[in-house]
């Protein structure tokens, strides 16, 4: 449990082995009885009620909550879909069509789930971009960031296996191409691929295990998300200024300020989600996946889902298969060591006049990689992919480690409260600006 410092007050002697019931402040006798024995109510109060949160979040700080909402939507729709889906190569395609036609609101469940994957990646990409721009990955939040990278990779694996389940042409051929990447590994490659497939090609055993793993991994994601949140609640959130809160004036309680701000963000997000699901449910999909899988007919162009395209472009940027696989893996794994690659102590790009622009170029570069990943592997796209791949890595391996030696950061504000209130027109801090007391326990 993410126990805050206040949790320890009932242990009068820290060295004592004697266990105590929790000294609950809850009024309701039933809830109090529970809270004394299992202080989850106190924990929620501490971690989501009075939890001190920087007062200066912008709307980029909504995306963690949005990712959480999306995860819940994905699991809820996914569990119901799994009750109707048949993980068998002869039945899978038709069972999905049956969901679309004969299951009550099956079309809604499936379109919400399929587009939910895209929405999940949009949200997580923005969430990660936020971390990169405002330096949220830097000390003391390295582990928080690394757990986030674990979540991102788990999401990619889950999404990939989920896309295989409808057993359309892109499902089959995408699975074939991606699993074949492991064959690039020397000596053991071919054996690993056979082991992954459960045979000598992508076939029924592959579909079965992908379904099993597609069901399992989301719950692993839930577990890692929990650790991600635990780590967050130890360090506290970063903020757009990238400076730590120093006094109570710099923070506000999570509730009601950020509960209402997140609620508003969630509704706006659901509008975008609804537009996609209700009016353009197949816009982000590929028509070929409405053709049943056929191992004898290869589609003209095998393209992964849009959210894999930047990494697909890196994979294809080098003519050597092993080299491509290593680069693609490296593009993800490099994120784990990012906190130690960036040598600048300044977190927020607002105060890094050069890094800011080089990072925005990196952002565009990522977009170009996404575009080029959807193009055929021919010139000039290969050259573009190579240049962009080089910049992708150069940003992490050259710019971030060395730029801080030359760059002179802008002066950091004295405190969050000072910066916020100066921007609002200055003047002394108003009374009661620190916190609104919690009304309910």
């Amino acid at each position: 449990m993410a126990a805050g410092p206040h949790d320890q007050h009932e242990l009068s002697d820290p060295d004592s082995d004697v266990r105590h019931m929790h000294d609950s402040k809850v009024q309701n006798p039933v809830l109090r009885w529970i809270d004394q024995r299992m202080p989850v109510i106190s924990m929620i109060q501490l971690e989501y009620g009075s939890f001190p949160t920087p007062r200066n979040f912008n709307y980029f700080w909504n995306f963690g909550a949005l990712a959480m909402v999306t995860l819940v939507i994905m699991i809820a729709t996914g569990v119901v879909l799994s009750m109707q889906y048949a993980a068998n190569t002869h039945l899978a395609f038709d069972s999905v069509e049956r969901i679309m036609r004969d299951v009550n609101y099956g079309w809604l469940l499936r379109y919400a789930h399929a587009n939910g994957a895209s929405m999940f990646f949009i949200v997580v990409y923005i969430h990660m971009w936020r971390s990169l721009y405002y330096g949220s990955y830097k000390s003391p939040r390295e582990l928080l960031w690394m757990l986030g990278v674990v979540l991102f990779i788990l999401m990619m694996a889950t999404a990939f296996m989920g896309y295989v389940l409808p057993w359309g042409q892109m499902s089959f051929w995408g699975a074939t191409v991606i699993t074949n990447l492991f064959s690039a590994l020397p000596v053991v490659g071919e054996h690993i691929v056979t082991w992954l497939w459960g045979g000598f090609s992508v076939d029924n055993p592959t579909l079965n295990r992908f379904f099993s793993l597609h069901f399992l991994l989301p719950f692993v994601i839930v577990g890692v998300t929990f650790l991600h949140v635990v780590a967050l609640h130890i360090t506290g959130s970063n903020n757009p200024l990238g400076i730590e809160p120093k006094t109570k004036k710099d923070t506000i309680p999570f509730h009601p300020y950020y509960t209402i701000k997140d609620s508003f963000g969630i509704v706006v997000y659901l509008v975008v989600f609804a537009i996609l699901v209700f009016f353009m449910p197949n816009y982000l999909g590929h028509p070929d996946n409405y053709i049943p899988a056929n191992p004898l007919v290869t589609p003209a162009h095998i393209v992964p889902e849009w959210y894999f395209l930047p990494f697909y472009a890196i994979l294809r940027a080098v003519p050597n298969k092993l080299g491509g696989v290593v680069l693609m893996g490296g593009a993800l794994l490099i994120l784990f060591v990012l906190p130690w690659l960036d040598s600048s102590p300044v977190r927020s790009m607002r105060f890094r006049p050069i890094a800011k622009w080089l990072f925005l170029v990196w952002t565009v570069n990522f977009g170009v990689l996404m575009w080029v990943g959807g193009k055929p592997a021919e010139q000039p796209y290969i050259l573009i992919a190579q240049i962009c791949t080089a910049y992708y890595f150069a940003y992490f391996l050259v710019i971030l480690p060395f730029l801080a030696k030359f760059e002179r950061p802008l002066p950091l504000p004295e405190s969050i409260a000072r910066a916020v209130l100066t921007r609002k027109g200055g003047g002394p801090l108003p009374a009661g600006a620190t916190a609104k007391p919690m009304e309910k326990a």
Binding site: I260, D288, V303, G367, F406, R408
Partner: protein, 272 residues
Amino acid sequence: MRRPLLMLVPTLKAAALAAVLAPVLALAPAALGSGARAAEGHDVIHIPDTRFSFDGIFGTFDRASAQRGFQVYKEVCSACHSMRQLSYRHLTGIGLNPAQIAALASQFQVQDGPNDNGEMFERPARPSDHFRRPFANDAAARAANNGALPPDLSVMVKAREGGADYLHALLVGYEEPPPGITVMEGMHYNKYFPGHQIAMAPPLNTEGQVTYADGTKATVDQMATDVATFLAWAAEPELEQRRAMGVRMIIFLTILGGLAYAVKRKVWADLH
């Protein structure tokens, strides 16, 4: 060292702005839309836009057109193309009533069984039966079609780039091959088919090929529009319900969002 690098800032700013604006605006939609859309190959075929009743956000299926389209499917396409995802009962979606559907289904003989003697037998179809397939299996379909497999049409509109527009274009796109192009034996020239050589002979070739009960003149273009409408319905029978629900969802969420924003402003008022 610091000064020269700082002098780079305006240049970097300009470069980054240009870099942001140009490729992102021009290319991101293509990348997002779907990678393959851009990966069509060098021979870019322009599919003409047909005006359909179900176009746009508020479009609905023209029931009369969809019913005529079903007639075209039944009398022409179904000789070779299956629609395995559909049952006769689904046809309530294009406005047929249960009695009409029962009468329609009973025209078809389907195999059932085994009976108590362990034998398969033929019986008239019921509304709950799937559309009868023209061939027993894919091999039989190929054998009867010069080696080519007529694809199932259940989700054809969703399985082709361009959807109903493409199907309509394909059906009216047969013509004599341009000079210099030799069409392989058993193939036909179609200006909208990728590669232009299609195994399917022109299915809709003469005006009046189908006699419409409602008196609509059965031109090739009309028949193509009708059957494309029917196939669009078959691929997305939920479309009307989906859009209607979507409109209600967006209205609801917009009001909820407005309220949430008002509450947010009020809660935050004492901080500003």
